[in-house]
Symmetry: C2
Subunit: 143 residues, 2 copies
């Protein structure tokens, strides 16, 4: 389990996706802030609040034994002295699974504290492969 | 169209949902920053970047004539001098439509500029009514 202090939001974000690719619960949890409220929304899932619930969710994600690699593209970033927000496209690859996984749109929020930059929120949601907008219709995922 | 300068992120957020309830494209757009990159993700939709695309999307949302009211609960907030992030549960009601609409999990990001606090990102995604996690499975919405 890393105890690194991250000098930049990008460092923390890279460490997050690297730990995810290692299916490393301790590594993933080492990215999160221990000073502030933390929130995690997995794709098409409920909102989890607090380190305990978030740790348990990653344990479940990794319990299947699947090795998940996530690459990110198209970053849009807003950075201030103590808060950084990154909007990214996540591309998911599951080892041994050739299905095309839907694009995931993610928002990552980082806060700078005594231990450097840490993740305080990860909000991931699947994107459809259509650009039709149905704000108030029953949501559906086309893939 | 409002040209108010919002003194707090809460003021900007309240004005956003009020304009949405009025189906007021100009009012919704008056909340967004004109100084920074802006991003909007409607529920189960693609990511839109830039004021033009975002304005067009709200025009489409309102074009049906449906009056949509969104109330928010369970806020988790991270606020610094110039950036604020709100994670909220959105409850959607469509006038004349008694169907129960899925809970929407939304992240709203505000930036403080010359014109006060403005919205720079709205990321909304439907939540399932189950707490099962399927990070790498085909996303599905249960409602």
């Amino acid at each position: 389990m890393s105890t690194s202090d991250f000098a930049t939001p990008d460092d923390a974000e890279a460490a997050f996706y690297a730990a995810l690719a290692r299916a490393d619960v301790g590594g993933v949890m080492a990215i999160w802030s221990e000073e502030e409220e933390v929130v995690c929304v997995h794709p098409a899932s409920i909102r989890l609040v607090g380190l305990y619930a978030i740790r348990e969710s990653w344990r479940q994600v990794f319990a299947s034994g699947a090795r998940i690699t996530v690459s990110t593209t198209h970053p849009v970033r807003w950075v201030s002295a103590t808060t950084a927000v990154h909007s990214v496209h996540q591309h998911v690859h599951v080892e041994g699974d050739d299905r095309l996984h839907p694009l995931i749109i993610a928002t990552n929020v980082f806060s700078r504290g005594a231990r450097g930059w840490r993740l305080v929120m990860h909000h991931a949601a699947p994107a459809p492969d259509t650009d039709n907008l149905h704000y108030h219709d029953t949501p559906h995922i086309v893939h």
